[in-house]
């Protein structure tokens, strides 16, 4: 797979079809990947495809001038299509190298399974439905599907919907929706006061690093409202009140654009379950307007558009 990718990417650069290749490279932290953006053929040998390619690369074409070849998984492809809908990137400037993905490994879940820090692990191999973790002198095998991200359990579009080259064969959808909504169901069962208390506690941890907004492909405002100082909407000082207002606004701004890629939650250094907000809104937008993100690149973005028949039972 990696060889095929390097070959295709090399061809694109050599033939001058793209100016840059955006793909997954080896990260500086063990097993993690980081974005690899290059215009040099010799760098392509560093491109990887492995069970850890969590990054959503679709935000980079927005910032890069020129044509790009980009590697995307199913969820990333929907973010990318959403950016095409918002006219942040031109489809003609993209050569999409789609990777059908049946789940990405959550390293935190692996750590729980082996009851060790990931630093102690010397190797992780995937063989079919199993993942074998090598440690000093011992090894442990676990089902691959036990250690993938929660979002992957409910992935209805694991194969990119929009691509020019497909690396591998199509993957059937994963329909363990209940399992992917972990956290949300519990919240829905609480009463309002408990829910507010829950979020208050969560956002007391926030240090306002803005990792969530920096990693999010749907957060593409050139100037974020948190940086506006006249008027200053949100204090730059991290109080839970301002943290919560910031995140609620972010949630509303990305509603209808969020493909539930889960990058916000993964990037959060203090472990706030941000996906419980974002995923909820994905479902609400689908319920209210029948809109699924990134399915049809010719459809208008959901909030620039309306139907005379939109529901208004909440309006008194």
């Amino acid at each position: 797979m990696e060889n095929r990718l390097r070959e295709e990417a090399g061809k694109l650069l050599k033939e001058g079809k793209v100016d840059y290749i955006i793909g997954f490279g080896k990260g500086t932290v063990k097993f993690r990947t980081s974005p690899l953006i290059t215009n040099k053929e010799e760098d392509l040998k560093d491109l990887v495809i492995n069970p850890f390619i969590t990054n959503n690369l679709s935000r980079y074409p927005v910032e890069i001038k020129g044509r790009v070849g980009i590697v995307v998984k199913g969820c990333d492809s929907r973010s990318l299509t959403s950016l095409v809908q918002d006219k942040k990137v031109n489809r003609e400037d993209l050569v999409i190298l789609g990777f059908p993905c049946d789940g990405v490994v959550d390293i935190k879940k692996v750590e729980v399974q082996i009851d060790e820090e990931i630093d102690r692990v010397t190797g992780i191999e995937r063989e079919g439905e199993n993942l074998t973790v090598q440690m000093d002198g011992s090894k442990k095998t676990m089902p691959f599907r036990d250690v993938i991200f929660d979002k992957c359990y409910g992935c209805e579009y694991p194969t990119p919907l929009e691509y020019d080259v497909l690396l591998g064969s199509e993957v059937p959808p994963s329909l363990e929706i209940e399992k992917s909504l972990k956290g949300i169901k519990e919240l829905e069962e609480m009463d309002a006061r408990e829910r507010w208390g829950y979020w208050k506690e969560q956002f007391s941890k926030c240090i306002r690093c803005y990792g969530c907004k920096n990693v999010c492909p749907a957060c593409f405002c050139e100037r974020c409202f948190v940086d506006v100082n006249i008027p200053q909407w949100v204090s730059t000082y991290a109080t839970w009140q301002d943290n919560l207002v910031f995140q609620l606004m972010r949630t509303l701004h990305v509603a209808g654009r969020c493909s539930d890629c889960g990058e916000c939650e993964r990037a959060c250094p203090v472990g706030i379950p941000l996906r419980s907000l974002q995923r909820k809104m994905v479902d609400e937008v689908k319920d209210l307007f029948g809109h699924e993100v990134g399915i049809d690149k010719d459809a208008p973005p959901v909030f620039t558009h309306y139907e005379a028949t939109d529901s208004e039972e909440f309006i008194k």
Binding site: A192, W196, Y198, L248, M249, A255, E284, L288, F303, F314
Partner: protein, 145 residues
């Protein structure tokens, strides 16, 4: 203020072309509506940024009323249609995080509907009164305070 003397303080974002005039009309017609509302005139319900609502609640108002023109009556053709989609998700999100649904209300009131405006404000203020003061964004009291 002592709890027993508490009066709700609510803010109303009313569209210049309809609801604001509706409130004006109810005044001219000498209809009474609770003075608990502080009205802010906006050019269109489409102008309402969810930040207005959240910041108002963060700053301690007990309720937020947003009112615009009936669908099809927008002075700018489609402002309220766009607003309606936005309001629908705001409503769902606020409920999900645990803000009482009574605290934030959306309405359509035309310029000719003076009595309706008075009724909407009256019912809204009563709803807010029932759920009590907005303590959502207050810090927990520490021992000894």
């Amino acid at each position: 203020m002592e709890e027993s003397n508490w009066e709700p303080k609510v803010v109303g974002f009313l569209c210049h072309w309809c609801s604001y005039a509706g409130a004006d009309l109810s005044g001219s017609a000498r209809l009474e509506y609770p003075h608990n509302i502080r009205i802010i005139r906006i050019p269109c319900s489409g102008r309402v940024d969810p930040l207005f609502i959240l910041r108002a609640l963060q700053n301690g108002v007990d309720g937020v009323l947003v009112s615009g023109c009936h669908p099809g009556d927008c002075h700018y053709q489609s402002g309220n249609f766009h607003a309606r989609r936005k309001f629908a998700v705001i409503k769902r999100l606020l409920e999900y995080v645990g803000i009482e649904p009574e605290r934030v209300q959306f309405s359509w009131v035309a310029a000719s509907e003076g009595p309706k405006m008075a009724k909407v404000i009256g019912e809204f203020v009563e709803g807010v009164r029932r759920i009590g003061p907005n303590r959502l964004f207050k810090d927990d009291k520490k021992d000894g305070e």
